[in-house]
Symmetry: C3
């Protein structure tokens, strides 16, 4: 997990973690501090990790974590140095622990730290409009413009030569050089991630950020959610048209062009030089290759290999689609 | 018609109503006041009602209204105590009369009653950002947050523990407890309802409101229109993602999950525990059952029974769709 | 090219133009001023024009321009009074020259000319909300309303009896009488037009404007981009619902009705009395006839003749579509 912006409220004692997970733990447990919650691969012996699917068996076998939230059926995959904490639902339990380490990553209420830009250090550095608010932990490069009524909430780094439009809201984002974010965008808010519960759905933490690389342009009225466990990334020189929605954890390669009203669901990855026509949709957790062209209005529900041109719903080879739909 | 927020400018004398309808009325008419315009079922003998389709014959037979706007071919279904006012287009005529009783329900120009929250009673009760405007007849419960540049226009009741984002506009709405409405939403404006006319389309009144029940979440950039003759309702613990459009009179059941960029056209009703994937669209006046799952990108153009899973355009059984579209 | 709002920074000397195009020009060239860049048909002998496709041969044959940006294979179509400037990519070269004549038409950074409406001449003429900004070269007719936080940026003419909502941004637009533009719209920003380049995409100028004719209504959260080489036009008494995107150069006829979340790609033309259901999409450069009905969710990828009803993706005759998709 990369969390340049979310303060780790750890270490947390393992006894407290076990209490939060509401599990019976028969073995005698040492009164040990846990530094962080990390994935199977990144965790050190000071950390707790989680393991919820056989798909990650090869990582589980080698994890260095001292503790792992998992299920009874998966526990045997863990090395002996890693103590299994058996729960019913690994993701809900991990969410509870992550929220304890990173309490600021769960909710996105309005940023109460903001001040008027005229009272900030940016007053003499940035060219700005009326009624602009700046949060804590914001940096802005040279030669930048910020439009009217825009709110740069906490945890935003902006490079040089950027132009932010009016009525836009940004938080928890790293923005490169020569980037344009047009009017009325919302960048860096948490994604649509929660565990359904008939009484009150349980939001899970979003400790990822949004990264927008150099030379990008984001069209009016677009929303780009930050990642939950990884980052949302818009690659170099990628251009987005108006009213686009990019969900959490999506990664878009460089030199990609996306037309208006496109939506990309959570955790999908796009290669470079991709072209997407207006109103197309891409389901979650897919891999779209390099140089792929997706016709406007298409609905992509499976991976698309490099250099393909697809169309339709479900999106298929464009020549086949047009032949079938004369 | 439920109109907690729209002031009834009645009673209106029946002679004035006949004049407004521009009809020839041969019978001698008593100089009587009419209190309200209501549907066939709710109207009392102080009210005027309307009857435009045989579908409602069973209600017309028993209406208690003293007057009814209807057509020549339908008049014989009315009881003898109800005087028929014969017009060419029942809905247009009803719209004209409704607009007379509820003139504030037709247009949604900007709310001129608003004041800065710092000059309101909420100053010490609500945690709020910069540049917030509050209209007349607003109530806000305890422990609420209101983000920057947000406008709570007239006629809004907000429960306890609610978080309203920044740049959001709300009017004519009742919002329960523990509700989150994220940034840049527009809630409670009139719907897309009018009678086409080659010179100037005629807007019809929207006397309904928006009700958002407890524990709901409304994503960034969403629009929820208020109802015309009934309310628009978002059921308890229902979560909406970003850039969703909910049209007038739509009713959504509890525990429903709707992904980004979905659109639901006017007067459709959704059951509880419904799941809708991104960019799906639902036509108007449909009934979607409980526990229905609608795949992302689908276009629903007919009723969907309980417990169905559908996909495609037009949406059909998901297994059939996937089989036909390998 | 119609450019009531973009200041022509010409004349520009032809020697400078040749230098900007970075071309070798063997012939001796006179030190002549060029007044403007115009299309083949409109150009006078004081202007430069461009010719990039055989499609326009009949216009090229008769152009009065003294200079024409074109390719080697097309040059012979020009009359002898017109000097060919041979380039590799006509559109990129024309874009560079257009940007030189109209430098303000390329980027839409926030308008630094705006002042608070209370400091403007409109203070006593318009009924307005809080926090409203007005740019240079704005005119507003009688009996108009402007909602809170709205920005009327430079180069906007608004007729009589118009109602502009809150949080809306308008620039480079001519708006007729009795027009309503609801909350949170963005009207008149440049379109999604650029020449892809692996290092940094090259934006081309947008010297067109947005024209919204009398009696129109534009729904909440809609975006209407101005034209590049021609105007974007919304015809008389046309109503748009919420969250609609109208791209650059689109022309929509009168009495047209467009439901929520529809998107119309660049340079398409719609007739009058067109009806479009929610979420439908229309590809670029198409011609949709008069009285056409397009079902919600449809994807239109070819021209549609007058009086047709279409549905599906690709959109086809509605009866055929419904028969094929029982």
């Amino acid at each position: 997990m990369t969390n340049p912006f979310f303060k780790n409220h750890g270490p947390i004692n393992i006894v407290e973690i076990i209490r939060l997970l509401n599990i019976n733990f028969d073995k005698k447990i040492e009164n040990q501090n846990v530094d962080d919650v990390k994935d199977l691969y990144s965790a050190s012996d000071k950390d707790i990790t989680f393991f919820h699917s056989k798909k990650y068996k090869h990582l589980a076998n080698k994890t260095k974590a001292s503790y792992c939230i998992t299920t009874n059926s998966l526990r045997d995959e863990l090395p002996i140095n890693c103590i299994a904490l058996i729960v019913e639902n690994v993701l809900i339990s991990t969410s509870i622990i992550t929220a304890k380490f990173y309490p600021d990553s769960v909710e996105d209420n309005f940023d109460q730290t903001v001040i008027d830009i005229n009272q900030s250090d940016f007053k003499n550095k940035v060219k700005f409009g009326k009624n602009i608010l700046i949060g804590k932990n914001v940096s802005i490069g040279s030669n930048c413009l910020i439009g009217h009524n825009t709110i740069i909430e906490k945890n935003v780094y902006i490079g040089d030569n950027c132009s932010i439009g009016s009525n836009t809201i940004i938080r928890n984002s790293i923005i490169g050089n020569n980037v344009k974010i047009l009017d009325k965008c919302i960048v860096g808010k948490h994604g649509f991630g929660f565990f359904p519960d008939p009484n009150k759905n349980l939001r899970y933490p979003h400790v990822g950020i949004v990264k927008i690389e150099d030379n990008c342009e984001i069209g009016c009225g677009s929303t780009i959610d930050r990642g939950s466990m990884s980052n949302t990334v818009i690659g170099k020189n990628t251009f987005l048209d108006n009213q686009i929605h990019i969900a959490h954890n999506v990664k878009i390669g460089e030199n990609t062009i996306i037309a208006g009203q496109v939506g990309i669901a959570g955790s999908s990855t796009l290669g470079k030089n991709v072209k997407i026509g207006g109103q197309a949709g891409i389901s979650g957790h897919l891999k779209i290759g390099d140089n792929v062209e997706i016709a406007g209005g298409s609905g992509v529900i499976k991976d698309i290999p490099d250099n393909s041109k697809v169309m339709g719903y479900p999106a298929k080879n464009i020549r086949q689609f047009l032949k079938e739909n004369k």
